[in-house]
């Protein structure tokens, strides 16, 4: 094989390896060092370094070095003339007598030091019209000067290394921006949650008998959803839906909401407007969770189609709305109202038994019963439901068999604790 052909094949193979190396998103320093290795090995150059423009484009710091000692440091500062020359793609050959005039100042400042280090060639890395850095190269093992062909190979490989460094910088910037966006998104979500809580408090203040109702419905809904296997994101969403389910009451007369007796048909119609009013308030808002307005609209729908406002039946009702509906009823039954005291727990179980399948979804009722059972048995880290129900509301000796009996009727198998799946 002719030496020139062999040299060409060797250079092509190195260029192919270099392309693969700079495209590797792994360790940056390793990428630059390996790329320098490849360049040096292509022309059998015994020493070299890669200096990168850092901070200001005029300051360059060493990022990879080979054959110049482990403690090698090279800080270069570029003035305008040499910077322009490098930007225009001119290399600087220290071994030759004749130089581009633009390099005069650079040679005065750094020439002696670079020659002392046996650096013979300084080649610029220019990517998209910007100077990314410089590659400093020592002499070839042959002892011959760099040929025109050698300089072409160096230029091509140095450009590759520059692209790799530039790609890494862009990746770092993208990662930083993604992190900033993530933090902003978290902040926005926190603001959203605080705003929703404030709304919930505003809703409940209007109804003097049901203070804390919205917040409790949110919490019960979240507990039921988690028991049904919903993930964190979905569980947070249903909690928000619970907080806001009664937001439509803001447009209902305060006297109707606070009537200390059973209201008449006209007032009842007025009160029953609140799911649609809630939907209309919530629909124009872009919520970070799915279907919040629909859960407000449908939280008074029933499986048998006798609910309102749309008389939906069975699977027409979103699962989230079924959860909020049960949480709403559970809180209504377990808190005092203007015209009645709260129900005893056995009566709540009885209500569930009577209305499951017609008003409530059996899977949702089973999930609430399971969650309650776990808390009573002390199987959970927190006792969130029991805390909301208040001390002494539940007699565990009576509640556990009652819950197990109801669960058996609902076809629940004692070992399938995490039954059910997430749905919007």
């Amino acid at each position: 094989m002719q030496p020139s052909t062999q040299k060409l094949i060797h250079s092509f193979a190195a260029l192919a390896d270099l392309g693969q190396e700079v495209a590797n998103p792994g360790d940056f320093n390793d990428m630059v060092r390996t790329s320098l290795h490849l360049l040096l090995g292509t022309l059998a150059i015994r020493r070299g370094a890669v200096v990168e423009c850092a901070g200001s484009d005029d300051d360059l710091g060493c990022v990879a070095v080979w054959g110049l000692g482990h403690n090698y440091e090279q800080s270069l500062r570029l003035d305008s003339p040499e910077r322009e020359a490098f930007l225009n793609g001119h290399s600087l050959e220290l071994g030759t007598e004749q130089h581009n005039h633009a390099f005069t100042g650079f040679l005065t400042r750094f020439g002696p030091k670079l020659r002392q280090q046996a650096i013979e060639l300084v080649s610029p890395m220019v990517v998209q019209g910007k100077l990314t850095g410089l590659v400093l190269l020592g002499g070839k093992a042959t002892g011959e000067p760099f040929s025109a062909g050698d300089l072409e190979v160096v230029r091509a490989m140095v450009r590759h290394i520059g692209v790799g460094i530039n790609a890494h910088r862009l990746l770092v910037q993208v990662e930083q921006r993604a992190e900033e966006n993530r933090r902003l998104y978290e902040d926005l979500r926190a603001i959203y949650r605080d705003t929703v809580r404030a709304f919930a408090a505003a809703i409940d203040i209007k109804d003097k008998y049901t203070q804390g109702h919205s917040e409790r419905v949110g919490k019960y809904s979240e507990i039921i959803a988690r028991e049904m296997g919903w993930d964190d994101e979905q569980a947070e969403g249903i909690a928000i839906a619970g907080y806001l389910h009664d937001i439509g009451k803001l447009v209902v007369e305060r006297d109707i909401i606070n009537a200390p007796y059973k209201i008449d048909a006209k007032s009842s119609n007025e009160l029953n407007r609140h799911p649609v009013a809630g939907y209309e308030i919530l629909a124009p808002i872009q919520h970070p969770y799915a279907d919040i307005p629909l859960m407000a609209r449908y939280h008074h729908e029933r499986l048998d189609g006798r609910g309102y406002p749309d008389g939906l039946r069975g699977d027409q009702i979103p699962l989230g709305a079924k959860i909020v509906a049960l949480a709403d009823s559970f809180d209504a039954m377990t808190t005092d109202r203007p015209y009645r005291r709260r129900c005893a727990f056995p009566d709540v179980i009885q209500d569930f038994r009577r209305n499951t399948g017609s008003q409530f979804d059996p899977k949702v009722v089973a999930a609430l019963c399971r969650a309650l059972l776990k808390e009573i048995r002390g199987e959970t880290r927190e006792r969130r439901i029991l805390k909301m129900l208040g001390k002494d509301y539940i007699n565990s000796d009576q509640a556990i068999p009652a819950l197990l009996e109801l669960l058996a009727e609902l076809d629940w198998e004692p070992h399938s604790v995490a039954a059910g799946g997430a749905q919007g």
């Binding site: 060797h10 390996t34 490849l38 040096l40 090995g41 002892g143």
Partner: protein, 128 residues
């Protein structure tokens, strides 16, 4: 005569001469292992190194760069270095790139050891 595999790089010592065996493809991974092994042998008191390329079919650019580094290390330590058992293609590559200006080549390990034994002032390439 001690022998070790030095993290998959085979080597053995004969007196103060270490013979290190290069693998079939001399690239970044295997090159760095050879470099480490050479350093280890020199740090352990060896005064001469033979790198045996009998298994080596291909040397890439990083391999060349690492071999230049080993030449530097040997020079700095005042140790002699001989490459042996190279195939024709690798010899041509080393000649073309100028490595043969800095290191002796021997036909085989035996010749390399003979040269090192009798070596006093010889600086020219032997064999090939």
């Amino acid at each position: 005569m001690g022998e070790s595999t030095g993290a998959s790089i085979r080597s053995h010592c004969i007196g103060t001469t270490a013979v290190v065996y290069a693998s079939d493809y001399l690239n970044k991974l295997t090159g760095e292992k050879i470099e480490r092994e050479c350093r280890k042998q020199l740090d352990g008191g060896c005064r001469a190194l033979v790198i045996n390329f009998s298994d080596t079919e291909l040397v890439n650019s990083i391999g060349i760069s690492i071999l230049l580094g080993i030449i530097d290390i040997a020079e700095r330590n005042g140790a002699q270095l001989i490459f042996s058992d190279l195939n024709t293609q690798t010899i041509e590559l080393f000649q073309m790139l100028g490595l043969t200006r800095h290191v002796l080549l021997a036909r085989d390990e035996e010749e390399a050891l003979t040269v090192l034994t009798s070596y006093t002032t010889q600086t020219s390439t032997v064999g090939h």
